[in-house]
């Protein structure tokens, strides 16, 4: 690691002010950022720790019935407390290991937007809203490719709001070594249609599988997916699986997600 200062603001306002310092970077649970610093792949001069910002922590239900999760809320807290949204809680309960879940946060996961992370699928599949210190961003506008998001420099995710679907399920096929998603599919059925979000597979990061959404919106059964497939082109191809294999897994995992709740 290189040397850096640490700021520990107690409010969003103080955090935003601290982020104004030269080469400042937000620190959530540090599960991605700290290893990066240890490898000397990043050299921020100030880390602004968000874990003491009380207003960014916790799970509650908003006036409109949406599930609100503070941006600095850990995966373990979501797994335990997001009881209104069991599919999301279950997803959070399978991220990493207990140490990762006790530190890693929803804001950090979304800001990082790892192409194999779980939360991007949950957020896009739910059509959630990412709330920052300056604005509200619809999930469909938020994810902009591998490790790329709509966030501006210094912008902080303060909250994420999830509409609660009638039925939902997340199926994760793990990459054997990291146990991130080799392919993860989040299926959510709302009154006005079904959303299917896929993580782990595409070179462009999380995406919605529109053919599957259309088929499931008219018939919410695994059978409705028969014959639907994705091409391996544009899918990640690495040691753990070719693009064709990932494309195949997307179809299998989508069916399993539907089967689990239909």
């Amino acid at each position: 690691m290189y040397n850096f200062d640490v700021e520990t603001p107690g409010t969003v306002a103080d955090a935003v002010a601290a982020m104004g310092r030269d080469e400042a970077q937000a620190l959530g649970g540090g599960q991605t950022l700290i290893p990066t610093l240890k490898q000397r792949l990043a050299s921020p001069s100030v880390l602004v720790s968000l874990s003491g910002v009380a207003e960014m922590k916790g799970v509650c239900t908003g006036d409109d019935g949406q599930l609100c999760i503070g941006g600095a809320t850990t995966h373990a807290t979501v797994a335990r407390e997001a009881t209104q949204y069991p599919a999301l809680a279950a997803m959070a309960s399978h991220i990493g290991d207990p140490a990762v879940r006790n530190r890693g946060t929803i804001g950090g996961s979304l800001a990082n937007n790892d192409p194999s992370a779980c939360y991007p699928a949950g957020v896009l599949g739910s059509g959630a809203t990412v709330v920052t210190n300056t604005r509200e961003i619809a999930a469909d506008d938020y994810f902009q490719g591998m490790f790329d998001t709509a966030l501006d420099e210094g912008e902080i995710i303060t909250e994420v709001r999830f509409p609660i679907p009638e039925a939902a399920n997340y199926q994760k096929f793990v990459q054997p070594a990291s146990r991130f998603a080799l392919v993860g599919v989040f299926v959510a059925k709302f009154a006005d249609g079904v959303r299917v979000a896929v993580t782990g597979a595409s070179e462009d990061g999380v995406f919605r599988w529109s053919e599957a959404e259309a088929a499931l919106s008219s018939d919410f059964s695994a059978g409705a997916l028969d014959g639907l497939s994705l091409s391996g082109d544009g899918m990640i191809s690495d040691l753990h699986g070719t693009g064709a294999y990932r494309a195949h897994l997307v179809a299998v995992m989508t069916k399993r997600a539907v089967d689990a709740v239909a």
Partner: protein, 790 residues
């Protein structure tokens, strides 16, 4: 009846108390007043010519004590190789120089180019970033066959080619073997890969060099399985320090699995730099460094052929193997694919003719050397896979095909130069079929199929050769070391004992099991015996721990030394009891005169030895301390049969291990609990190799699996539930040539299990109508799915 002490008792591992309560003393726990830290600048290029290394800026950085480059080591020796293999033409292998810090060229990613010693590690690292290295990158060679096929890319310019040696074994049998293939009724051929592995002991390597100017003594604290070997190699061949001025200490070591046998550059560096800087110098490997600097394991590409006659008797085996050496020869690398691999190719079978060809190849990768099993897993995998394939081709039961060809008479001289002393392969086969409930498999398969899964049953045998010996023979085979073991037994005045053993314990539980043996021989409580190991200033010259040799060789040395103690103690007792020495009996810690009620306690005798008032001083010396060196007359040959049941998810290719059973013959067993733990752990590593682990390079020599994000370690949930993970060692044919009748159990699990898993997967896939004859390890979901879909 389970015993509650001594040989055969499952005594709890006494060393675990300190390991589990954080009171162990690992090398990284050793901090010497005023120590400096070293950071190694390692190559991120696989192959290239170093045109300049500019350390000027780095030397002026805060805290920097000294910056070293390859030029600083021109006067000292390179890293030595401990085994010279002679090729099939009678020529010695090609043996390249192996510098402590790269000189002239870099040859693999991770090779150290420069080293910065500074007050703190972070300062050393900061300064290392200021070193300017210019390297003219050269194409890298990673694929072994390409490396041999052409000299376009040579790893070592001063060698004639990338071929280290081309070994034929037994060369005199080659023509007869070829003729047997001509005459065969059936020939089964299999091409396969034995995947490259990274050992990944929980504790990474650490070295602390210290130098006492007042006495001109150097001390190295290091994570080693064999401190005496390191002292000899480093002192005599690298740094030129006489052994009496060099102490090597390997304190608590958190796992070795082979990769801590070897002498590494970092050890020599820290010892050298401590003197050069007149300060202790410490290095603790990061996990990332471990991936690119610990010697890797396995990495063979093999074609094996099995010839059978019309009655399905094996008539000949012929193999051709490419074995990766990496960029340099690690300490024992040349011996692994030859003497620890070719000699095992008979397996459990009476195949009359065997010819093994091995081409050892230099590539731009990390050096490869012994890893748990070392050569024997490679032999077992190919042999047991080709037998399984033959059974399928011939439509016969794989169990019966094996049984029909078993060796049944002992001693048995194989056509690959070893003589098995004892064994009973039908007994272990019977046992494994019983404990695995093979008869119930059909019902379990039907249950799996009802869930949409494919279920397979895999079975195979294995044989291992442990405690490689005798020294004069291995010397003829090219070993540059002896392979005896030593022990000093020191009895204290009040009756307690300290055993100083040349074996080293780094997870094996020697402090418990060795004490059991000595306590049993004397008939005293185990807690009266203390085991000391791992410090060249305390223990007699010993060869350390690897190759499942500790109880068979180190234990035997300890028995011999204890026998000397008992013989002398009987003399003292006969004096105290005023009886003839031949009438003295030792039982339950007391000496008695046969046929009388006269006796004297162990403690009375030991006290007399050190307070010799009433003592036959004219006949025997006072004191009670004896040393023995034991050089075995042969290897030991543990063997067994393993079964595995897998479920395959046909939609994803995912494989789960539902059941695993092992029936091993380890001869006599000193501590059943420790033996079972060794087998469980070995099988876990074998399952790791079969399903999960793979060290992978791209064509430019970049390491793709350089962290746990991509290198898959086995975890508890990859293994079957304990009630379906049965390890049995009740079949026992004691070794005939060592005093304990023991054979060694450390590597068996890792040797026997990889083919079991693959055999089971093939069985599952074929039951689902998939015409898959072989699948390379690791059988990841992606690979299994691809195999199922052509």
């Amino acid at each position: 009846m389970p015993k509650d002490g001594g040989i055969g008792a499952s005594s709890k591992r006494r060393e675990d108390v300190r390991f589990l309560t954080g009171t162990g003393n690992y090398t990284d726990d050793i901090n010497i007043h005023g120590q400096a830290h070293v950071f190694f600048l390692r190559s991120d290029i696989a192959h290239g010519t170093i045109t300049s290394v500019d350390t000027g800026a780095a030397e002026g950085m805060p805290g920097v004590v000294k910056v070293f480059t390859g030029a600083d080591f021109e006067a000292v020796g390179g890293m030595p190789c401990g085994w010279q293999v002679t090729d099939k033409h009678g020529q010695p292998m090609q043996e390249p120089k192996h510098p402590i810090l790269a000189h002239g060229k870099v040859r693999h990613v991770g090779e150290p180019i420069a080293a910065v010693v500074a007050d703190t590690l972070e300062q050393a690292r900061d300064a290392a970033e200021a070193i300017v290295v210019d390297i003219d990158e050269l194409p890298a060679v990673v694929d072994m066959k390409a490396a041999v096929a052409s000299d376009d890319v040579k790893v070592h310019d001063d060698l004639t080619s990338n071929l280290c040696y081309d070994w034929g074994f037994v060369e005199e049998n080659k023509d007869a073997t070829d003729a047997a293939f001509e005459a065969a009724a059936h020939v089964t051929t299999l091409e396969l890969v034995n995947n490259r592995l990274v050992a990944n002991p929980m504790e990474p390597r650490v070295a602390v060099g210290d130098y006492a100017r007042g006495t001109d003594e150097s001390t190295l604290y290091t994570t080693s399985q064999n401190p005496h070997v390191i002292r000899l190699l480093m002192g005599a061949f690298v740094l030129g320090i006489p052994e009496h001025k060099l102490r090597v200490v390997a304190p608590d070591v958190g796992g070795g699995f082979g990769t801590k046998i070897f002498h590494y550059q970092e050890e020599a560096f820290c010892t050298f730099a401590a003197k050069a800087c007149n300060r202790a110098v410490k290095w603790t490997s990061s996990r990332s460094e471990a991936f690119m600097s610990d010697a890797h394991g396995r990495d063979h590409v093999t074609k094996i052929e099995l010839a059978l006659d019309g009655d399905n008797n094996f008539t000949a085996v012929r193999t051709e193997t490419y074995a990766n050496m990496g960029a340099y020869l690690s300490t024992f690398a040349p011996s692994i694919p030859t003497w620890l691999h070719g000699t095992l190719m008979a397996g459990n079978y009476k195949t009359p003719l065997i010819y093994v060809n091995v081409k050892a190849v230099f590539t731009n990768t990390v050096p490869v050397d012994a890893y748990r099993g070392a050569g024997r897993p490679e032999a077992t995998f190919q042999l047991e896979r080709v037998i399984d394939k033959a059974a399928r081709e011939l439509g016969v039961d794989p169990v019966e095909l094996r049984r029909q060809n078993f060796i049944t008479e002992f001693p048995y001289a194989t056509p690959v130069a070893v003589e098995y002393d004892t064994g009973d392969y039908h007994a272990t086969m019977d046992k494994v079929l019983e404990i695995s409930d093979r008869d119930g498999f059909a019902a379990r398969r039907a249950e799996s199929e009802a869930k949409g899964k494919l279920r397979g049953f895999g079975i195979n045998c294995f044989i291992e050769a442990c405690g490689i010996a005798p020294s004069n023979l291995v010397g003829q085979l090219g070993a540059r070391a002896g392979l005896y073991e030593s022990a000093t037994v020191r009895v204290n005045a009040t009756g307690g004992l300290v055993v100083m053993t040349g074996s080293h314990s780094h997870g094996q539980g020697h402090e418990t099991s060795f004490a059991q043996v000595v306590a049993d021989m004397i008939g005293i409580d185990e807690n009266m015996v203390e085991i000391v190991h791992g410090d060249t200033s305390k223990t007699p010259m010993g060869m350390g721990t690897y190759g499942s040799r500790s109880i068979a060789v180190g234990g035997s040395a300890m028995v011999r030394a204890t026998e000397k103690i008992i013989a002398k103690a009987k003399k003292i007792a006969s004096h105290l009891l005023e009886a003839s020495e031949s009438d003295i009996e030792l039982k339950d810690g007391a000496f008695s005169v046969a046929g009388t009620d006269k006796s004297v306690a162990w403690g009375d005798v030991t006290l007399a030895a050190y307070v010799p008032h009433n003592y036959p001083l004219e006949d025997i010396e006072p004191g009670l301390e004896e040393t023995a060196f034991y050089d075995p007359s042969n290897f030991t040959y543990p063997a067994g049969a393993y079964t595995c049941e897998v479920e395959v998810d046909p939609a994803t290719g995912e494989v789960t291990i539902e059941r695993f059973a092992s029936a091993d013959d380890f001869g006599n067993v000193v501590n059943p609990m420790i033996v079972e733990g060794q087998v469980h752990g070995g099988i876990a590593q074998g399952i790791g190799q079969a399903l999960l682990e793979n060290c992978s390079y791209d064509e430019n020599g970049q390491l793709l699996t350089a962290s746990y994000m991509d290198y898959t370690m086995p975890r508890a949930d990859n293994l079957p539930q304990m009630d379906h993970y049965v390890v049995d060692h009740s079949c026992q044919t004691p070794c005939t040539h060592n005093p304990l009748g023991v054979k060694g159990c450390g590597e068996a699990g890792a040797i026997g299990s990889p083919p079991t898993v693959i055999n089971a997967i093939i069985d599952a896939l074929q039951s689902g109508g998939h015409d898959v004859a072989h699948i390379d390890m690791p059988a990841t979901p992606a690979r299994v799915w691809a195999a199922m879909h052509g």
